[in-house]
Symmetry: C2
Subunit: 704 residues, 2 copies
């Protein structure tokens, strides 16, 4: 009896399971020596609290220092002695006022972090021209502390390189998120405007921490109801909550809202009644949201209405909305992702053909939003030929943060290298070194955010939100450095944790390219939901919604001939670029089959034939996922148990699906090429028909 006596209540430690909600703002206690070191140097905090943004900065500092340094209060005590951390602008702080000119050079959103002496006192200044810069500076300082940086000689000057740093939420009014893999929409329209979920503020904090300054609340496939008064009241509440964090609210608009919502019989942009309707609607919005950002528009694309329905141009359509917004300071973000009702010879050429001639025809408050590549958010695409080709038109680059074509939320694919690759691509538009980044006025990221407790559907997908913000702030930053920051903030600043995680992250995008679409292949995902392989997809309503349209594989070879001998899409690039891409000998191997139809026995740089190389790449992708699993297994015990278990489970899913991709793709392409598998390559375990028969009608995120 009493044999199995329990040491009850032992081990009831304080360790909280980490569920990922805190993102990269965990503010976990620092090692005591380091905490003491910082405490000594930071001393008293002197911060204004007269405005909402000032209070946000102060609150974040309290939260951050409280977590990092422990909860012992620094006695406010006897005023002006000892070190101090001083926050402010020339307006809010007499101490900072002398820096006015220096701060002005950093712009409206820039900031200065500087350790200096004022009289007898060591002070650390977080200074900016405007409150929002101070808030950004606070987040920067907290990042430094979290990563254990030295602050003795701190002297940081930061300004954003891009003006518009905007999330695009493809969220429907019923809470469904198109191409969303992270739960439902964050915006609970049913309980707005009354209920101000604290999560809205946490969303704003996360965005401000990486410099994101705008959010489009609703899907580009827009519902006109978003502009109805009841929804504007709700959006205004969100705008109120986001404003202290420097985030402007934008709305996607349906071009024929004057008909659907206003009861007019036309949405013709040259119709005076239509113009009046939009002017009135803009005034109605600004009455509720004085700093409303503006409209995002998807027009004449994939069935959406637009100016071409009335024989007008995209410029006419954009001007209609731009003129309505101009008196209030709003902008129109007009999407260049359009394609005609008729299936084109090469869809990759359409946006350029449609828009390049309109350079200079847009109002000053119109920004053209161009996807990173000419097709649609593939694992790899060349940069979009419009970048550099419209010097008189401000351009935003639209990227997906959500991973519609990259394994949804369960595949670990860090997108930093993808964004970096495009941002650094040389358009040659104004000679060598004309990067895509230089052609940009902003970046738009299709959000991967939802009600999932992790926000992004997985722990590692948080990194893509983070990297988007950091790169939009400064596109010259390196994806690797950003990954290192993120890993340190999110998991542990221990280099023994950071380095292997960064290794996984930096290799992960190439792994996905390998097991999905190696060597420039693209758009081979299953139809509709894009879950898993579908290289055999053919037929249906449009040829350019099939896989065979893109890979063009036959018994002789594979690839889309976009050279002068083919669709001549290369001609949309600058001559130097066109020459390189168009030359089979010079085209980079990762883009080979994007631009060329190549015989199966084409000899690759590796010495292998194209066929052997293709199969090898597919297999390599699977091995790379196995490698990530090994690395992650080695981190057991160094990462909290809950997050470790989830990532490990997701990697098991990823491995299963990478193998599926490899096997199905090899089975399919072998059926086309008729070639034997290279030595050492395992045959797919099922016949091709087995893979083709798999159906996933309930895969998440499909458009509806």
């Amino acid at each position: 009896m009493f044999a199995s006596v329990l040491a009850l209540l032992a081990c009831m430690g304080n360790a909280r399971a980490e569920d990922g909600y805190a993102l990269w703002m965990r503010y976990a206690p620092l090692e005591p020596t380091l905490a003491a070191h910082y405490r000594t140097r930071l001393g008293q905090v002197v911060a204004p609290d007269q405005t909402a943004t000032q209070r946000a900065a102060r609150d974040e500092l309290e939260r951050g220092l409280g977590g990092l340094l422990g909860s012992d209060p620094q006695a406010p005590g006897t005023a002006a002695i000892g070190p101090a951390l001083v926050l402010g602008t020339p307006q809010s702080s007499a101490l900072i006022a002398p820096l006015r000119a220096q701060l002005q050079s950093l712009g409206e959103e820039g900031y200065l972090l500087k350790r200096t002496r004022v009289g007898e006192r060591d002070v650390l200044l977080v200074a900016a021209s405007r409150d929002i810069g101070v808030l950004y500076g606070v987040f920067h300082l907290l990042r430094l502390l979290q990563t254990g940086a030295r602050i003795d000689a701190l002297d940081v000057r930061q300004s954003p390189r891009l003006r518009l740093r905007v999330l695009n939420h493809w969220d429907n009014l019923d809470g469904y998120v198109e191409r969303g893999y992270a739960g439902q929409s964050l915006w609970d329209w049913q309980t707005l405007p009354e209920w101000r979920d604290p999560r809205y503020t946490d969303y704003a904090r996360a965005n401000a921490s990486v410099g994101i300054n705008g959010t489009v609340l609703n899907n580009v496939n827009a519902n006109a109801q978003s502009l109805a008064p009841q929804y504007l009241d709700k959006a205004a509440t969100l705008a109120d909550l986001f404003r202290p964090y420097g985030i402007r609210v934008y709305l996607s608009t349906r071009f024929n809202a004057p008909i659907e919502l206003g009861g007019l019989d036309t949405a013709d942009p040259l119709d005076p009644g239509v113009q009046r309707w939009w002017r009135d609607k803009a005034a109605e919005i600004y009455a509720r949201i004085p700093d409303f950002g503006g409209f995002l528009v998807k027009a004449n694309s994939e069935g959406q209405p637009g100016p071409q329905d009335y024989g007008r141009s995209h410029a006419d359509g954009a001007s209609l909305l731009a003129d309505a917004l101009a008196p209030h300071g709003g902008v129109v973000m007009w999407r260049a992702f359009v394609y005609a009702h008729d299936v084109p010879a090469d869809r990759a050429t359409q946006a350029y053909s449609e828009f390049v001639g309109l350079d200079g025809a847009f109002r000053p408050n119109v920004v053209l939003q161009v996807k990173n590549g000419p097709i649609d958010f593939q694992p790899r695409e060349p940069f979009h030929p419009l970048f550099g080709a419209m010097p008189r038109t401000p351009l935003m680059m639209e990227v997906q943060i959500t991973k519609e074509y990259l394994g949804f939320a369960t595949h670990l694919v860090y997108l930093g290298p993808l964004y970096e690759e495009v941002l650094r691509a040389d358009t040659r538009a104004r000679g060598k070194g004309s990067t895509v980044a230089q052609a940009l006025a902003g970046m738009a990221g299709v959000a991967n955010i939802g009600t999932d407790r992790t926000w992004s559907g997985s722990h590692f997908d948080q990194a893509n939100w983070y990297a988007f913000g950091r790169l939009a702030w400064d596109p010259r930053q390196s994806a690797g450095d950003i990954a290192a920051d993120w890993a340190a903030l999110t998991f542990s600043a221990d280099p023994g944790v950071v380095q292997p995680i960064v290794g996984m992250m930096m290799a992960s995008r190439e792994a996905a390219v390998n097991y999905m679409t190696p060597l420039g292949l693209h758009h081979l995902m299953a139809r509709g939901h894009h879950h898993g392989p579908g290289p055999w997809v053919d037929g249906g309503p449009r040829a350019d919604w099939t896989s065979v349209y893109y890979h063009r594989a036959d018994h002789s070879g594979i690839g889309f001939d976009r050279t002068a001998g083919g669709s001549n899409a290369v001609a949309q690039y600058s001559p130097d670029v066109a020459e390189q891409y168009g030359d089979l000998a010079r085209v980079p191997a990762p883009l080979l089959l994007w631009f060329h139809h190549v015989p199966w026995d084409h000899r690759m740089a590796s010495g292998r034939t194209l066929w052997d190389e293709l199969v090898a790449r597919y297999s390599q992708g699977v091995r790379q996922v196995q490698g990530m699993q090994c690395t992650w297994a080695g981190l057991q015990g160094r990462v909290d148990a809950q997050r470790h278990a989830q990532v490990a489970a997701f990697l098991r899913i990823q491995l299963r699906e990478a193998q599926w991709w490899r096997d199905a793709s090899v089975a399919y392409f072998q059926s086309v090429s008729g070639r034997p598998l290279p030595a050492g390559e395992a045959a797919p375990p099922h016949p091709l028909a087995w893979y083709q028969a798999l159906q996933f009608p309930s895969a998440p995120g499909d458009g509806r």
Copy 2:
């Protein structure tokens, strides 16, 4: 300078915002004296840990006592001295073995909590015949401690009164929840079976804590894919996680799955191939889930396929599935919610007409699942006439926990009184005192559970999940007592908190009846999504999907004549009941217009005319919501800030919508009655057409 020095890091207390995730299992620290009192009496814990359920009981006890009593470990020390808390069954504990006979009388799920002496020792026994009973007993004990009960002379014997206590999740495979107002489905099919979200276990804990012992994972409007091998693997993982908590997994089945999934050309229940298909499918399921509970079936109802498609009866259909499950011990829960393709004279009569003649025709492992009332989960209905009318057929009562017709998640409506009212209704089937509860083998509750952080979409909707479980365990319990327990567990055991909350809860259902459908009115909600008032709804595909079909208001009067002079639905009740309901002088006022078409100037017991009474009830409903607001405002500071704020915001929504219901309904019925508003009643602020024009196409939870 340094004027606004901040006492940084002060007030960084340990108080965590309460977000509702912990449900009624918060285990918040008890007041120190009480904690010390319990600590002394509980002493050492002696608990087996050889089975998964034993470990679940021990883990819950650790979690509970750790939270309630603090984290000081009770030294396991020197064995058998001092008081002890002893858990076990006759098999697992030698101390409990002598109680075998006594425990057997409590049944397979019953338990005993008893304070006694064993030799020199004070012991508190948590004893049962089976491990699951011990787990239930642990939850009972923790409830007593949380509410500050005395345990010195504890002697509790509990057994469930109903065998089947089952949640029905109307969850689609894509994560959408039909009639769900609490986020997406908990089941993340995309990450199952690999990822075992800790939330699945918390779900099981919550259910076990109130005695729920089954869960139907998928929508009764079923997708045949739920029976495909890939989904069975996922369901099996959930079953593995739920099993330690005594919860069996069930699946809704689509009757023509043999066609859609199996490729057969018929689903005729008498076809040997169909019978073989279901036998094989059952074997396939039980190979994965040895304790699989069985099937829930919605057949020949609202467009679902069923046996009548082949000229067979419901009994034939149920037998098909029952025979497939019988060798494995599974049951078929066959829904009686059917109505014919042809619009009937009175839909309230259909289920009875269809099924009463089949009494005795079902296999022993079939349970007929009957909604609480004859229409569809209205704010108030009379009990369903099938209860008591099928003595040879086991019946389950199906109630909605989700509030499809009761204001979604934002209206505070405690459903305990609704359930209690039906359970206690006297069918007179076997003489006076033949309650509905006595006619039941089980209860099915349509779950209000989703990924929302609160689980149920609001803090107060958690109470409906809780009350369902408690009443399914023992339908004789009182809704008020259950509310008091829930409030104490969820907010605070302080009577100054519990009493006002119970007051709000107990009046809340009548408030909703008043502002939506007073005096026996029913089914007046807006079309489709049922959000808000729609008493004018008319036309469309079926008369019985309109409001005018149900209220039958005209210039002379209002109400559905279900007496012998009308549809004669009263005849489906026992003679005594039928006589009462059919008699205008004796029918209870709350059911008046359910059974009678009554002139507007009919004199009510209040002395008012029916018209005046109707308007008064609508207004009273609004005032009752205002009353709840006042009560809640008085609890500020006594309930944690985050939950207080959310409830207050939701009450503002409820008040706005109650007023909308009142105004729209009064405007509409006035347009029909042509009568002036009673003195003192405010005219609706808008004309009727304004209310009729309101559209809510994105209201949540609509069927799709």
